[in-house]
C-alpha cells in the first residue's frame, strides 16, 4: 500500500516537473514559431560550393533578395577561391528594423549583412555605430558614384551603408491632361510657369495641376533643396523655420488656395488611395523621386504611354533641379563572420556597373553608378518595360540634372524632424490653412524642447 502511494507521488511529481519544463519551453517555442511565421527564409540558388563562407542577410523587400542572389552567383563565378553563400531572411519593414536595432544594441543575433531604409538609418548611426566602415571598398568605385548618396549613409567621414538608387526627384506629367489644356510641359521651368500652366489646366479640364502632401515630404524637400537649404543647420541642429522653409511652404499653400493643386488622397502619391486617384487621371503632375516609376508600372496601368518625366520647376532659373530622396542603405555589421569578404562583396553588389545594370533591369531604380546613364544600350533598350511605359526616356532627364542632384541630410535628429513635419506641420498648413511662418516657428520650438537644445 505504502509503495503504491509512493508510486503515485512520483508520478505526480514527475508530471508537475514535466509541466514546468513544458511551460518554460512552451514560451520559447511559441516565440520562435511566431517569428518564423512572419519571416520568409528564401532559398536562392547562389551556385556556391560546399566550402563557401556562409552568411545571413536580412531584407525588408523580398524582391531585393533576388537581386542579391544574382549578384552572389556572379561573385562566385569571378572569385572561385573566395566564394560565399548567403541565406536571406525577408521580414516585414518594422519588424526587421526593430530586430536589427535590438540585436545591435545587445551585441547578439545580428545578421552579417542587412538592408536599412533611409528613414531608419540615422538610428543605426547613433552612439558608436555597430556597423563596419566601408571606405576602403568604396574607393575603387568612388568617381562614378553619385557622391551625395554616399554622404547620406555616412558619419564622421565613414561610409556605413551603400545606396541602392539615386531617387532623383523629377516631375511626372500626365500628358493627356496637359494636351487637353494646351500646355507644353517642356516649357515649364520655374514655379511661375507651373502656376500659369496650372491655371490653364484647371480652367480647361477642371482637374488639378498637382498634389500637396500631408504625410510625406517629397515636394517640400525638393523645394528646400533647390534653394540649397536643408531641415538641419550645418552643425546638425533643427532648422525648420528658416526663410527657405517658409518660402517653400508658402508656395505650396498659395497654390492650394488658388485651387491649382489639391491635397493628395492618402496624404501623398505613394499610397493606395494616391495610386487610384492618379490612375483615374485626376491630376496633371506630381513631384516624386524616380523610383516612383515602378509604382506607375505596378499600380497605374491605365496611364501607360501618357506619363512624361521632366525636371522639377525651380524658383529661379539656375537653381539645382533635383534631390535624391528615399532609399535603402546596405550595411555590414560588426559581428559579421568575415567582415572583409562581406564588405568587398557588398561593394561589388551595389556599386559595380554590372550591379547597377541589374538595379535598373530588375528593380527599375535609377542606378547610382553614373557610367551606366550614358550607356545607350542599357538606357534605351526597347525591350525594357520602363522604357516602354513612359513618353520620354528617364535617363534623358537624369543626364540633364546629373550635376544638380542635391542632398537632404539624414542625421540623428532626422526622425524627430520628419515626425513633426509629417504629422503636424503639413496637416496644419496644407489641410487646415494655418499660417506657415507661425506653424514652422512652433515646430522649431517643439523640436528644440524635445531634443533638449
Amino acid at each position: 500500500m505504502k509503495g503504491y502511494k509512493k508510486g503515485i507521488k512520483y508520478i505526480f511529481m514527475g508530471f508537475l516537473s514535466f509541466c514546468m519544463v513544458l511551460s518554460i519551453a512552451g514560451c520559447n517555442n511559441t516565440k520562435m514559431d511566431a517569428s518564423k511565421d512572419r519571416s520568409t527564409s528564401l532559398e536562392i540558388d547562389t551556385g556556391a560550393s560546399e566550402d563557401a563562407t556562409k552568411m545571413e542577410m536580412w531584407v525588408f523587400v523580398e524582391l531585393h533578395s533576388k537581386f542579391y542572389g544574382e549578384m552572389i552567383r556572379r561573385w562566385n563565378q569571378q572569385h572561385p577561391d573566395r566564394q560565399l553563400d548567403i541565406r536571406f531572411v525577408a521580414l516585414p519593414y518594422d519588424d526587421m528594423h526593430n530586430k536589427l536595432q535590438m540585436a545591435l544594441q545587445s551585441g547578439k543575433g545580428a545578421p552579417d549583412l542587412c538592408d536599412i531604409e533611409v528613414g531608419k538609418f540615422p538610428n543605426f548611426l547613433m552612439g558608436e555605430p555597430q556597423l563596419e566602415s566601408l571606405n576602403d571598398v568604396v574607393e575603387p568605385y568612388k568617381d562614378s558614384i553619385v557622391q551625395s548618396r554616399l554622404d547620406l549613409y555616412s558619419k564622421d567621414g565613414n561610409i556605413y551603408g551603400l545606396p541602392t538608387h539615386v531617387g532623383a526627384t523629377v516631375m511626372f506629367y500626365n500628358t493627356e491632361i496637359l494636351e487637353e489644356a494646351g500646355v507644353d510641359y517642356t516649357q515649364i521651368e520655374t514655379w511661375d510657369d507651373y502656376i500659369l500652366a496650372g491655371k490653364k489646366v484647371v480652367e480647361e479640364t477642371s482637374k488639378s495641376m498637382g498634389v500637396a502632401e500631408t504625410n510625406a515630404m517629397w515636394t517640400l524637400s525638393a523645394l528646400l533643396a533647390q534653394q540649397s537649404s536643408d531641415y538641419v543647420t550645418d552643425d546638425g541642429k533643427p532648422n525648420v523655420n528658416s526663410k527657405e522653409m517658409i518660402k517653400a511652404m508658402t508656395l505650396i499653400q498659395d497654390m492650394l488656395n488658388e485651387g491649382i493643386i489639391e491635397v493628395c488622397p492618402g496624404g501623398q502619391p505613394d499610397t493606395e488611395e494616391g495610386f487610384g486617384y492618379i490612375n483615374e487621371g485626376n491630376v496633371a503632375s506630381m513631384v516624386m523621386p524616380l523610383w516612383f516609376m515602378s509604382r506607375f508600372l505596378d499600380y497605374m496601368p491605365d496611364l501607360n504611354g501618357k506619363i512624361a518625366i521632366a525636371p522639377v520647376p525651380v524658383f529661379e532659373k539656375g537653381m539645382p533641379r533635383s534631390v535624391g530622396l528615399g532609399g535603402t542603405g546596405t550595411v555590414v555589421t560588426k559581428t559579421a563572420v568575415d567582415t572583409q569578404l562581406a564588405k568587398e562583396f557588398l561593394a561589388f553588389a551595389k556599386l559595380s556597373e554590372e550591379a547597377n545594370m541589374q538595379v535598373w533591369k530588375v528593380l527599375g531604380f535609377d542606378p547610382v553608378n553614373t557610367n551606366l546613364w550614358k550607356n545607350k544600350e542599357i538606357t534605351h533598350d526597347e525591350e525594357n518595360k520602363f522604357v516602354q511605359y513612359f513618353v520620354n526616356n528617364p535617363f534623358e532627364v537624369l543626364n540633364e540634372v546629373e550635376h544638380e542632384i542635391e542632398l537632404i541630410r539624414s542625421l540623428e535628429i532626422t526622425p524627430s524632424i520628419n515626425n513633426v513635419i509629417g504629422t503636424q506641420v503639413l496637416n496644419d498648413i496644407n489641410e487646415n490653412g494655418a499660417d506657415p511662418e507661425a506653424t514652422l516657428n512652433d515646430a522649431q520650438a517643439q523640436l528644440e524642447n524635445e531634443l533638449g537644445l
Partner: protein, 299 residues
C-alpha cells in the same frame, strides 16, 4: 537522495516547489524588466555609449507637449471605452442569458466573432470604411443623408470616434462573455422570489443582476482600465502606422514605441513606460480600494 525527497515532501517546502514556475516567470519576465527599465530611465542608452543622466529624461518628459497629448488621448480612450464597454455588454449578456431569448447561441457567436478576427485585418477594413475619398463606406452613408464627405481619420473628433467604434466592435463580445459567466453564478431562486414579490423585469435587473454581478464588473473594470491605457494596436492599425495626423491617435504606448523604437531613445522610452505603470497602478489601486476589493482581502 533520500534527504532531498524528504525536503521536497515536507509541508513547508512543497508549496514553494509548486509555485516555483510562477515565481520564476514573474521574476524573469516582470521584476527583472521592471528593474532594468527603472535604471534605463535614468540613462541615455546608445550602442557603446550608456551614460547616467539623472532626471533629464523625466524633465524632458514633463515639458513634452506630445507626451501629454498621448496621455490625454489614452485617458480619454480609457474613459469612453469603459462608458461603452461595461453597460452594453452587461445588458447584452442579460438578454442572451434569458431562456426565452431566440437564437441565443447565434448572438453569442456573432458578438464574439470580432475578438477572433485579427486586429491587423480589422484595422485595415476600418481604415477603408473610414476612408477620405467620397467612395468610402462612411462617406457614402453620410452623402446619402445629404452631408459632404469627411476626411474621417484626419479630424480629431471623427478619428477618435472611429477608434472608439473599432474598440467597441472588438471588445463587446469579450466583455459579454465575462458577464455571462457572472450571470451563471446568480441563483435562479432569487429571480423567482423577486417575481413573486411583484418585481418586474427591469427591477430584477437593477436590484438583483447588477449588485450580484459586482465581482465580475470590478474585474472587467480593472482590465478595461489597463487595456484602455495600454492601447496601441488598434490605433497603429487604423492609421497604418504610429503617426496619425496631429497625433490624434497617439497613445502612451504609441509614444513609448515612437521614442524607443522609431527614434532609438530607449532611456526616454523607459521613463514613458514607468509613468504609464504609475498611472495604471494608481488608478486601479484607487478603484479597487474604492470598490472594496482590497479591504476584503485585508480582513
Amino acid at each position: 537522495m533520500v534527504r532531498l525527497k524528504k525536503i521536497l515532501n515536507s509541508q513547508k517546502v512543497a508549496p514553494y516547489v509548486f509555485i516555483t514556475p510562477f515565481i520564476l516567470t514573474f521574476l524573469i519576465f516582470f521584476v527583472y524588466p521592471l528593474f532594468s527599465t527603472t535604471i534605463m530611465s535614468f540613462q541615455s542608452v546608445l550602442p557603446g555609449q550608456i551614460e547616467f543622466i539623472g532626471f533629464t529624461n523625466y524633465r524632458r518628459l514633463f515639458s513634452d507637449k506630445i507626451f501629454w497629448k498621448a496621455v490625454s488621448n489614452s485617458i480619454k480612450y480609457m474613459v469612453v471605452t469603459i462608458l461603452f464597454l461595461i453597460p452594453f455588454p452587461m445588458l447584452f449578456a442579460f438578454f442572451i442569458d434569458k431562456k426565452i431569448m431566440i437564437g441565443r447561441e447565434v448572438f453569442k457567436s456573432i458578438f464574439f466573432l470580432p475578438a477572433l478576427t485579427s486586429v491587423v485585418v480589422a484595422g485595415t477594413i476600418f481604415r477603408l470604411i473610414f476612408g477620405e475619398l467620397p467612395g468610402s463606406l462612411m462617406n457614402t452613408v453620410i452623402s446619402a443623408l445629404g452631408m459632404a464627405p469627411i476626411k474621417w481619420l484626419k479630424i480629431q473628433k471623427t478619428g477618435f470616434a472611429a477608434l472608439i467604434i473599432l474598440a467597441c466592435w472588438r471588445w463587446t463580445g469579450v466583455n459579454m462573455l465575462y458577464f455571462l459567466s457572472g450571470l451563471k453564478n446568480i441563483p435562479e431562486q432569487l429571480y423567482e422570489s423577486a417575481a413573486i414579490d411583484g418585481a418586474n423585469g427591469f427591477e430584477r435587473f437593477i436590484y438583483i443582476t447588477i449588485p450580484l454581478l459586482k465581482p465580475t464588473t470590478i474585474y472587467v473594470l480593472t482590465i478595461s482600465i489597463y487595456a484602455g491605457l495600454a492601447m496601441f494596436t488598434e490605433s497603429y492599425m487604423l492609421w497604418a502606422g504610429n503617426n496619425s495626423p496631429q497625433n490624434i491617435g497617439l497613445t502612451i504606448v504609441g509614444y513609448l514605441y515612437r521614442q524607443g523604437i522609431e527614434k532609438n531613445s530607449m532611456g526616454y522610452a523607459s521613463a514613458v513606460g514607468l509613468i504609464l505603470l504609475i498611472f495604471t497602478m494608481g488608478i486601479n489601486l484607487t478603484q479597487l480600494r474604492f470598490t472594496g476589493v482590497l479591504k476584503k482581502e485585508e480582513e
